[in-house]
């Protein structure tokens, strides 16, 4: 059984004056297996973030359903944690308090020592334990996003939802964070499944097992699903020369280009 199952999801945003209603999700079906890393890619407005928010339980779809471990999703839950696009740390709390507050809220029954231990482990894993007492605005964007990643893992989710997590970072910081993310996902945590929205073709290929290409109308919501059959661990330098990498890259470029043509 798939860990995450999305069935016939439809979602429209009502139009305002002069703007037609937008049918953002047009019958989305997707199964994600336990331990899979799936990327959602597509042009702006194709509904990839909306889909992620529905899975998170932040938005209710017009029709269709989302099942996590066979249970329908109606609200956010501790089995799913999210890393937001704009870091979204609480500005008045220290990095430590940001992570701890989330870990504590998501696991209200857990003993304090275990929470503290978890928080320390993940903050150390992203290299921020020495900076734990700083406020978000006192550290760089990359450090803020690492805190957000630590916060999501510290909750102990089974499914991790990432909404363009590294979009606002420079290339070097992004590369380091991608590696930290893979390391945490593969070795350090109980998190099994990752669903990541991204704009980056290379990021999607480097990280994902499957890439879901989403399109704007008149195309269907899911244009294609491309498996990435590259062995792990993938080295960002050498993987580029793999023919399979080239093949997926070309395929993605073609699909995204076609989608843009269709819209224009």
């Amino acid at each position: 059984m798939s860990q995450l199952e999305i069935d016939g999801l439809h979602m429209s945003f009502p139009g305002r004056r002069g703007i037609a209603p937008q049918h953002v999700l047009r019958g989305v079906d997707l199964q994600v297996g336990q331990g899979e890393f799936v990327s959602l890619i597509g042009h702006s407005g194709c509904g990839k973030s909306t889909l992620l928010n529905v899975v998170a339980g932040l938005l209710r779809p017009n029709s269709g359903r989302v099942l996590v471990g066979g249970q329908p999703v109606t609200a956010p839950g501790p089995d799913r944690a999210m890393v937001f696009q704009n870091y979204s740390l609480l500005p008045r709390l220290s990095l430590l308090a940001n992570v701890r507050e989330a870990a504590r809220s998501a696991n209200p029954q857990a003993p304090r020592e275990r929470i503290d231990e978890t928080v320390e482990r993940y903050l150390s894993a992203v290299g921020l334990w020495e900076h734990r007492n700083k406020r978000p605005r006192q550290v760089s964007g990359g450090m803020q996003q690492r805190t957000a990643v630590a916060r999501a893992f510290a909750v102990g989710p089974r499914i991790l939802l990432l909404d363009e997590p590294f979009g606002a970072l420079d290339a070097l910081t992004r590369a380091r964070l991608q590696e930290q993310l893979l390391e945490l996902w593969a070795n350090e945590s109980t998190t099994e499944t990752v669903l990541m929205v991204t704009h980056g073709i290379d990021e999607a290929i480097l990280l994902a097992d499957r890439i879901v290409v989403m399109g704007n109308p008149p195309q269907p919501s899911i244009v294609d699903i491309i498996p990435v059959e590259l062995p792990r661990p993938r080295d960002r330098v050498t993987v580029i020369d793999d023919p399979a990498y080239r093949q997926v890259q070309q395929r993605l470029l073609d699909l995204l280009h076609a989608d843009q043509q269709a819209v224009a």
Partner: protein
């Protein structure tokens, strides 16, 4: 209707803000660094030999300050001059010189207490300040939690808003008779009027601040399943704090205006009574002296809250 729609949210403008872009004007909290560097001469910059600058760099801010003070004095003199002309023409109004000499007489023994109604002006002002602060504190005690509640809950907002909107435009003085009946005591009724005065701006600004929690912070609370308590403590209150201080500042400003009117009604003690009593004794110089002192204290109160709002504003930016 949105919360913010009705709320008078005044920015942290300075009390005496010159309209020209002077860097020393205490306007925006985020320009503090700029203010500092403009006000405090950098030792290195002053010592460095600059080819085209004949004057040392620290001179410029000094000149700007001197110019501001100069124009301020000129405006003051013009005002006094105008006053002198009007007073001379009317014949009934006291001239500036007689008003100032009365002011000096009054300030010579401000805390004289000759019983019942014969009190020094300092004592009268202190009594009024005491009433304002009591009413204001009560309003903050009630208004801030109420504002947080209606800012955080749509239902509470819908329940409270009609009542607030109807009562808000009413002059607080209209509450005085009710206060008299309930408290059977004029001074307490005056405190009650100040309470009502300060309540609305506090409630509405707090509500506006609490209602404007950014979507992403709200989503963080939902995804990580913050408890109601944790949400209010870690997200709503920190976010609302600057608006709360703005509300308190507005409340204090209005309360200080209203207290004069209330004490004219209530009689007995306080600066408002002093003004009315002086009028009845045909001592208009004392009235004008009181006006000047009320104004000065108002400025001091406003500066106090401006400082407070800078303090919470600075915390916001992670200092």
């Amino acid at each position: 209707m949105s919360v913010t729609g009705h709320v008078t949210k005044v920015e942290n403008t300075a009390v005496a803000m010159p309209p020209q872009p002077a860097p020393e004007s205490p306007v925006a909290p985020e320009s503090e660094a700029a203010v500092e560097s403009a006000a405090a001469p950098e030792p290195g910059a002053a010592a460095a030999p600059s080819p085209d600058a004949a004057r040392p760099t620290w001179l410029a801010p000094v000149q700007r300050t001197a110019a501001a003070v100069g124009w301020g004095l000129l405006g003051g003199l013009l005002f006094v001059g105008l006053w002198a002309v009007v007073a001379y023409r009317s014949g009934d109004l006291p001239s500036p010189s007689s008003a100032f000499s009365t002011l000096i007489d009054l300030l010579a023994d401000p805390f004289r207490d000759g019983g019942e109604t014969d009190k020094g002006i300092g004592l009268q002002l202190a009594i009024s300040l005491g009433r304002v602060f009591s009413g204001f504190a009560l309003a903050a005690l009630v208004g801030v939690p109420l504002g947080l509640l209606i800012g955080g809950s749509r239902r509470a907002w819908q329940a409270v808003n009609p009542v607030v909107q109807i009562l808000r435009p009413v002059s607080p003085l209209a509450w005085f008779p009710l206060g008299l009946v309930v408290f059977k005591d004029a001074p307490n009724a005056a405190v009650f009027v100040i309470f009502v005065t300060a309540l609305w701006p506090t409630v509405l600004n707090t509500a506006a601040g609490a209602a404007s929690v950014p979507e992403d912070q709200h989503n963080v609370a939902r995804v990580f399943r913050f408890s109601r308590f944790s949400y209010v403590r870690n997200i709503v209150i920190p976010h609302a704090l600057p608006s709360v201080v703005t509300g308190l500042r507005l409340s204090m400003g209005i309360a200080w205006m209203v207290i004069v009117a209330v004490e004219m009604l209530s009689g007995g003690t306080g600066i408002g009574f002093f003004v009315w009593d002086s009028y009845n004794a045909s001592n208009l110089s004392a009235v004008i002296s009181a006006i000047l002192l009320i104004g000065c204290i108002g400025v001091v109160l406003d500066c106090l809250f401006l400082w407070l709002s800078r303090l919470v504003g600075a915390k916001e930016s992670g200092q």
